[in-house]
């Protein structure tokens, strides 16, 4: 039960993007299409889960003073791993996400908070926490990506979903559109909460 909560809280209640407004850069930068969003979500989740596992394994050996640097190294390593793997096996996606793959480091330092925060959880809970946060992040960016792709290109996952006569609202996939869609979604979430 508790585990389940650990897992699902990141979906909505503590959604890292909508509720906590963290990790905004990739959220806005890579959501021009659902495909990119999925890629980014996957990469981030991978890093979150594995670094969570790793850190909860070694937490007892790390003195508090170097907690953060050690944590950074672990995360950065996993980021580098996913970077290399994606570069090797899905070069197109890697190209699209570009700069924002290495930047997952920064992002995950923020999201993978349960560990840094007292580093008190066991491996299983850490996995669920990381997975929950990662999925919450992924859901959020997929939603944003879908809205932006449909509005801005009339497509979803590259397929046309709106009639040909639809004249795409180009801004939606440009920078301002990212902010506007995000702001409106957050407002909507607030409205729902009440």
């Amino acid at each position: 039960m508790k585990l389940m909560k650990e897992f699902t809280k990141g979906f909505i209640k503590e959604n890292p993007v909508f509720v906590m407004a963290l990790g905004l850069c990739p959220t806005l930068a890579v959501t021009t299409s659902v495909e990119n969003a999925i890629g980014m979500g996957f990469a981030a989740t991978f890093v979150l889960v594995f670094s969570n596992i790793f850190i909860s394994l070694i937490k007892n050996f790390i003195p508090a003073k170097v907690r953060i640097p050690a944590y950074i190294v672990v995360i950065a390593s996993f980021v580098t791993i996913i970077d290399m793997v994606m570069h090797a096996f899905v070069p197109a996606l890697h190209k699209n996400l570009g700069l924002f793959i290495p930047l997952i480091v920064v992002n995950c330092i923020i999201l993978g908070r349960a560990e840094a925060f007292a580093g008190k959880n066991n491996v299983i809970r850490s996995i669920f926490d990381g997975l929950g946060m990662g999925i919450g992040f992924t859901i959020a960016i997929i939603v944003i990506g879908a809205i932006r792709e449909i509005l801005g290109a009339g497509q979803l996952l590259g397929f046309d979903v709106l009639p040909q006569t639809y004249k795409p609202v180009l801004v939606a996939i440009l920078a301002p559109g990212a902010f506007l869609v995000m702001g409106l979604l957050m407002g909507l979430m607030n409205l729902k909460k009440k």
């Binding site: 503590e14 509720v19 906590m20 407004a21 963290l22 508090a64 003073k65 170097v66 907690r67 953060i68 640097p69 190294v73 330092i109 923020i110 999201l111 908070r113 840094a116 925060f117 007292a118």
Partner: protein, 329 residues
Amino acid sequence: MSIILYSIATLGILGLIYGIGLAFASKKFHVEVDPKIEEINEVLPGVNCGACGLPGCSAYAEAIVTRNEEINKCAPGGDAAVKVIAKILGIKASTKERQIAVIHCQSGGYDNTFLRYNYQGICTCKAAVLITQGPNLCNYGCVFQNDCIAACKFDAIHLDKNGMRIIDKEKCTGCGACVKACPRNLIELVPISKQVHILCSSHDKGAEAKKRCGNKTACIGCGLCVKKCPVEAIEMQDNLAVIDYEKCVSCGQCASVCPTKSIVDPIAEKRGTAFIIEENCIGCTICKKKCPVDAIEGEVKKVHKVDPEKCIGCEICVNVCPKKTIEIR
């Protein structure tokens, strides 16, 4: 293979240099800070994301301790952090009884205020009072522009259907914002267990006060309540009865004699006798200590009993019982 070696060497050396460098610097340039700040800083995730609106975790920790910043602002820390911080701070959090706001005026509704003139200013009590001392005939009563409602961050003050301001006991946190907001000084924070209040603030003399009160519930300074109060908790101050809540035992005697109903006892109707449900009583003696008329008897760790003869039904024990096992019957 050499790449592996190089990389190990490079990163290893970088790590070593940074580690030692930082450690060294932090010792050499050590600055003393409040231990509580350090403690909270330890609890905070240390990721410096800025979600709290402050520049970094340590700044937030400092703000919590020195500037009473709210403790629920750390997004990455989540609920867990809030709990731990609350615990750290909790050491100094007082164990005093919860206080809530009471408005000492029964006027201020649509139909129960006499107007002196047609007020055309901005809708704040403060401003209304500044002009010609308020639109109502009573110079002490509520000027009904609802500054208190606006001031309450917890949505604890509402208008009833008659246009009167009612305080929601559940929601009120006793923050005192409304007390500061009311320009007529009508609002006071009182311990939640106290039930009987004088709901008038008029210092006008008897007849005058009643004439000016739209609700006809002004304190006319007759002094009956002062005489009746068993614990001498009421004092006449410049034509107004004032209850000293330190002494008040919520017996409701005063309310029963007040000719203008300016003292209100909300539990008068259902006032009964306290009864302790034996199964749950743990014998903490709290109720015994708190009872104003010594109607409760019992030893430590033993079941307590109420003497129905002495009990005045003030419900103080009901409110203080940690096991919630006292009932009024």
